[in-house]
Amino acid sequence: MHEPRTSASGDSIPRLRRRLDALVGPCRLRWVSAVEHRPADTVAQLLVVKDEVSNRLWELLALPLALQPTGVFGLAGSDDEGYDARGFPWTVTLPGHRDLSMGRRWHFFFAWAFVINGLIYLIYSFASGHIRRDLAPTEAEIKHIGASISEHARFKFPKGEEAKRYNVLQKLTYLLVALVLLPLMLLTGLAMSPGMDAGYPILLDIFGGRQSARTIHFLAAGGIVLFVAVHLFMVLVSGVWNNLRSMITGKYVVEPAEETK
C-alpha cells in the first residue's frame, strides 16, 4: 500500500491534480475467486491516474471499463499536509483518513445494527402480512406499469384513494431493496469471510468466489445509495411536510381526486 504525499506548497489544486501520478490506491472490482494482478479479470477499476482534464469526474477509457477519479472524486488532504490520491474522497469515507482497522470497526458494528434491524423488519413484515398486503403488486398494477412510469416521470402523484397505497413502482422498488439488495449485502459480506467460507462453502459457489462476492457487495451498496437518494428526492417532491408529518403522527392529508371530465 503506497501512500505518496505530494507536497502542495504553492501548487494550485488543478495543477496538483495533473501532477498526481498513476495507480495510487486502486480499488478493483474483480470477477474471479482469488487471483490478484490479472488485469483481464478486472471488471472495472477505480484508478487515480494522471489526467490533463482536471475537472473531469470520470472517463470511459477502454474495456474493461476504467473509472477515473481525478481529484474531484479521489483527492484527499489539505494544502498543509499534502494530498493523497484515493478511490473515494475523504468526505464519504469513514474514517476520513486512511485507517483500515478503524474502518473495519465502524463497518462491522453497523453491519450488526443492519442485520438485527433487518431481521426484525423481515420477520415482522412477513408475519404481519405487510409484504403480502402492502408490497406485493397486483396483476392489474403490473399491467399498468407503463402508465405509472410516465406519471412518475412527470412528477404527477396519485390523489384520492390511490394516495393511501403504495403505487406499483414503489412496491417493486421496496421489494427489490428489502428482499434482494439488503439480503445480498449480508450474504456477499459473509462470503468474504474466510471463517464463514470454511463453515459454509456454498457461499463461494453461489457468488463464484470471494472476489466476485466483493464486487457484488460493492455494486449492491451502490444500488442502496441510489435507492436512498431517489427515495429522499421523492419524499421531498411529493409533499415533504405532509410526508414527514404522516411518519411521525400518522396523519396524512389526502388531496381529493380530480374530477375527470
Partner: protein, 258 residues
C-alpha cells in the same frame, strides 16, 4: 447550578454531535475512547457468532493446481533486516532451529531438516488479505498439532504465540518484531501448518522463509512469516500491546475470521 452544568454539558454534546453529521465528521468520534469501546463490542459478538456458526472441524476450501495464482502478492515484510536472520538466510537456514517453549512438558529445538522429516500436509488454499485481495497458493508443512503433541502442552496453556524475525514496526529492537497468536482450536486444526514449501518450491524469503504459519480460516495477517519461536502461554494480555499480535496491537481484531 448543577442544572445549568448539565445543560451546558448537553449542549456541548449536542454541538459535537451536530458537527459529526457528515461522515468525515465522524473522525472526531473515532478518537473518543467511549466510541471505540462501543464499536469494539461488535468484535465479541462477531467472534461468538462465528464460533457458534462454524463447526470446529470445518475445513477451508482447497483448490486445484490449475487455480494457483500466477503471482502471489508478498505483503508486509519481504526481507527481514535482522543480522541473525540474514546470517541464517545466507547459508540456507542449515544451522537454524525452531524453538518450541513456554507451557510445554518438553521444550523442542528442531532444525529445518528435522521438520521436513516429520509427516507433512499439503494444501492449496486461498489467502485472504484484510486489505481485500486474495491469492491461491500451495503450501506444504508440518501440522502445528504434530509439534504441540510432541512438546506436550501443559494443562493451563490456552494460546500459541509465534515469534518472528521481521522488525515490521521498525523499532530496531524486540518491540517492533512481528508476532501473532492463535487459540487452541485453531492451533490444533488440521489445516494449521508451519509451511516450509510454497507452490512446490522451497518457501521464498519474501513469503516467510524458513517457516510460515498457515491458519486457513482467518485473514492473512494471522499467518505469521519468518517464525523463529513458538510459545505456549496461558494469557496474551501480558504480551507486548496485550492484544495478541503485531497488527492486533495496532487496532485489528484478534479473531480474524471475517
Amino acid at each position: 447550578m448543577s442544572n445549568s452544568l448539565d445543560r451546558r454539558f448537553f449542549l456541548r454534546r449536542a454541538a459535537a454531535l451536530a458537527g459529526t453529521l457528515g461522515l468525515g465528521g465522524c473522525d472526531g468520534l473515532s478518537d473518543q475512547p467511549w466510541v471505540r469501546r462501543v464499536l469494539d463490542s461488535a468484535e465479541g459478538l462477531t467472534r461468538f457468532t462465528q464460533t457458534v456458526l462454524i463447526p470446529p472441524s470445518a475445513l477451508a476450501r482447497e483448490y486445484d493446481e490449475a487455480e494457483i495464482s500466477k503471482e502471489f502478492k508478498a505483503n508486509g515484510s519481504t526481507n527481514p533486516d535482522d543480522e541473525a536472520y540474514k546470517a541464517h538466510a545466507a547459508n540456507g537456514f542449515a544451522d537454524w532451529k525452531l524453538g518450541v517453549s513456554g507451557l510445554v512438558e518438553k521444550p523442542l529445538e528442531l532444525s529445518l531438516a528435522e521438520l521436513r522429516a516429520m509427516p507433512s500436509r499439503t494444501q492449496i488454499t486461498r489467502h485472504d488479505c484484510v486489505e481485500g485481495w486474495s491469492c491461491i497458493g500451495k503450501w506444504t508443512g508440518v501440522p502445528l498439532k504434530t509439534l504441540l503433541d510432541q512438546a506436550g502442552l501443559k494443562a493451563n496453556a490456552r494460546y500459541v504465540v509465534f515469534r518472528c524475525a521481521d522488525d515490521l514496526g521498525q523499532t530496531g529492537d524486540e518491540d517492533g518484531k512481528y508476532y501473532e497468536s492463535v487459540g487452541l482450536e485453531d492451533a490444533f486444526h488440521p489445516q494449521t501448518i508451519l509451511a516450509y514449501e510454497m507452490n512446490g518450491n522451497v518457501l521464498p524469503i519474501e513469503h516467510g522463509a524458513p517457516l510460515r504459519l498457515r491458519v486457513e480460516r482467518q485473514l492473512g495477517y494471522k499467518m505469521a512469516k519468518y517464525v523463529m519461536r513458538i510459545e505456549a502461554v496461558d494469557e496474551i494480555a501480558t504480551i507486548r500491546g496485550g492484544r495478541g499480535g503485531f497488527w492486533e496491537d495496532l487496532g485489528y481484531e484478534w479473531y480474524a475470521g471475517i
